[in-house]
Symmetry: C2
Subunit: 102 residues, 2 copies
C-alpha cells in the first residue's frame, strides 16, 4: 500500500493563530509514539497572518484514518475547534524524493 | 535563523505529469548531498490528475535561494519547463511537530 500525505490548511479566527499553533504542537507530541505517523509539521503561512499549514506523512491512508479515532487526537480537535474559522485538505500520493522512503 | 519550508504546486501540461515527476525525482537525487535541504518530497495530487505538489524543507531561506543557483538544479528546471503549464508557491515558517527539529 502506498504512503499517504496531506496538507491541512487551517484558517484561524482573527488573532487566534498563535493559540491554535500551541494546541497543534501539543497534538504533535501525542503523535510522537504513533508508528504510522512519519511527519506532522506545523507551519505558519509567511503571507497570510491567519493561516496554518500542517504537513502530514503517514505510512498509509489507514494509519491516517485511524489517528482520527485516537482519543487524545479527538480531545485536541475539540479544543481547537472554537479557534478555527475554516479548514481545507490537499490529499497527496508521495512518489519519492529526499527525506522519504517509498 | 528559522527554517524555511515551501509547498511548490506544479501544474503539468495535460498528460505530462508522469514525465514531469520523473524529472523532479532526478532533481531530488542531486539534492541528496546538499546539506541545507532537509526534505524534498514529490507528491501527486490525489484529486487533480495534472497537479504535483513538492514539499520542501530547508535549514533556512538562504539555503533554498542558494539551491536555485546550483547548476544541476538549473539544468533540471530548464528540462522541466516545457512540461509545466503553471506554478505556485506557498511560503511557510515551520514552528515544530513530528519529524522536524526547530
Amino acid at each position: 500500500m502506498s504512503k499517504f500525505a496531506m496538507y491541512g490548511k487551517l484558517t484561524a479566527s482573527p488573532g487566534k493563530r498563535d493559540e491554535l499553533v500551541l494546541i497543534l504542537l501539543e497534538a504533535s507530541r501525542s503523535l510522537k509514539d504513533m508508528a504510522g505517523c512519519e511527519l506532522y509539521i506545523i507551519n505558519e503561512s509567511v503571507d497570510d497572518p491567519d493561516t496554518i499549514w500542517v504537513t502530514e506523512l503517514w505510512s498509509d491512508g489507514e494509519a491516517h484514518a485511524g489517528s482520527l479515532k485516537n482519543e487524545e487526537v479527538l480531545a485536541v480537535i475539540q479544543r481547537a475547534r472554537p479557534l478555527i474559522a475554516g479548514a481545507e485538505q490537499v490529499r497527496l500520493r508521495p512518489v519519492g524524493g529526499k527525506g522519504i522512503d517509498v
